[in-house]
């Protein structure tokens, strides 16, 4: 399980948030909310280990993530703001190559199935460059299926998606949680997944005092 104690993030000399505690166990998901600039993305990057917290610690199964980097990365799938797909490559190539970068190998049938489920049937072999913004996003999200990760950290996954894709992603997340997966999601929209804890980050003009920003 993922847990964090007393996370503090400072940008420049301005504290974004301080003393954030959270815990996500198997089958649970956490909805991180807050106004623009309240530090949702920064929090997710801390959780992924892409940046280091000013204070506090992120733990995976009770071990600090800096000590078990490779095990943690194997369990983690982080999808950020970026497209994180190569425009010149086709959707199928993108999925296969990112799987190989992660040290795995997936066959073409699996790729087609994942892209098909995200409504990209027949577009597997088109360069991503010619797809629409929403379709690019779907190619990226198809990695949720091809990469078997225990923990999803998703930054605004519903951006640019139509209602059917949002519903589809919700179903996928439900399956993931039912299998004992975990997820941390930021979203301004309502997330079509039941349950879930909520973590509210207050805006930067009103920084949290230590101890605030706990799970409600």
């Amino acid at each position: 399980m993922l847990s964090a104690q007393g996370l503090t993030c400072v940008r420049g000399d301005r504290p974004l948030f301080a003393g954030v505690d959270l815990a996500v166990g198997p089958g649970e998901w956490l909805h991180v909310r807050g106004a623009n600039g309240s530090g949702k993305t920064s929090l997710l990057r801390l959780l992924a280990g892409l940046s280091q917290p000013e204070a506090g610690q992120v733990k995976w199964d009770g071990e600090p993530i800096s000590r078990i980097v490779q095990d943690y990365h194997r369990a983690l799938l982080f999808l950020g703001h970026h497209a994180a797909v190569k425009e010149e490559l086709t959707g199928a190539e993108n999925l296969q190559l990112s799987a190989q970068l992660d040290g795995g190998e997936i066959d073409r049938a699996e790729v087609d199935h994942a892209l098909g489920r995200f409504g990209l049937k027949g577009r597997e072999d088109l360069p991503v460059r010619v797809l629409s913004a929403g379709q690019k996003r779907r190619v990226l999200l198809a990695r949720l299926m091809t990469r078997k990760a225990k923990l999803w950290v998703l930054d605004e996954p519903f951006t640019a998606l139509d209602t059917r894709a949002v519903e589809m992603l919700g179903n996928l997340a439900r399956e993931h949680l039912a299998q004992g997966g975990m997820a941390v999601i930021t979203s301004h929209q309502a997330v079509p997944i039941e349950g879930g804890k909520v973590l509210e980050l207050s805006s930067s003009s009103n920084p949290l005092k230590p101890g605030e920003g706990r799970i409600q």
Binding site: L50, F78, G80, H82, A84, K86, E88, L101, G103, P127
Partner: protein
């Protein structure tokens, strides 16, 4: 190891889809080195003398052209972030990118150099030493250059800064590479220079991916 090859394969595939970038650097090398014989005129003795230096400087500058793009695109579209989060060590993935960069921008120079040496009236032995020197030296250029590319990632006007940062580090390679051909033609034998180039390569292979990884982590913070 499979992750290293996967990155290299991906970058080669991308280079195939963006041929213009690769060909620009190659044509640059061909044109710059061809300007010298045209400018200096038919003086075989002088041309033979300056050939190693001109070809090596051409190779340095041609390598510089593509350096900035080594990580820039990956950084912009977020795939670099995904690489940093891959279960495979980032240094291995960086090694794969270096390998692809060398195959695309270094190896063609090795192949072309003897051909361009003809314009300078180099004899067959000198051309062999030149190609061998480039074969040992161009990977050093890619490896050392990747440190600079990673350090200037996301910096505005990074291109100029990159040249200022990396070109001084290329000096040892240039001296021993060009020196090998001169030593060969003066009858001293190129063995010593080539051994030193090989030593530089071993050193760069060991340390450069590590330094690049550290620089990339800073850029990603």
């Amino acid at each position: 190891m499979s992750a290293l090859l996967a990155v290299a394969r991906r970058d080669l595939l991308l280079a195939m889809r963006r041929k213009a970038e690769v060909l620009t650097a190659l044509f640059f090398f061909v044109i710059v080195t061809s300007l010298f014989p045209l400018g200096i005129g038919p003086e075989p003795a002088l041309l033979r003398k300056i050939a190693p230096g001109v070809l090596w400087v051409g190779a340095l500058l041609a390598t510089m052209l593509g350096l900035q793009r080594m990580f820039a695109a990956d950084h912009a579209d977020g795939t670099l972030e995904q690489m940093a989060l891959s279960p495979a060590p980032l240094a291995l993935l960086v090694g794969g990118k270096n390998l692809a960069h060398w195959l695309v921008s270094g190896l063609p120079l090795v192949v072309l150099a003897p051909l361009l040496g003809l314009q300078f009236d180099l004899d067959a032995g000198s051309m062999g030493v030149l190609a061998l020197g480039l074969l040992l030296g161009t990977p050093v250029l890619s490896l050392v250059g990747s440190i600079g590319a990673a350090l200037t990632l996301g910096v505005r006007g990074g291109g100029v800064l990159l040249s200022l940062l990396v070109l001084p580090l290329y000096i040892p390679t240039l001296i021993f590479g060009a020196g090998a051909v001169q030593a060969h033609s003066s009858g001293q034998g190129a063995g010593g220079h080539l051994s030193l180039l090989a030593a530089l390569l071993a050193l760069a292979l060991f340390f450069a991916p590590w330094a690049t990884t550290a620089a990339l982590r800073i850029a990603l913070e």
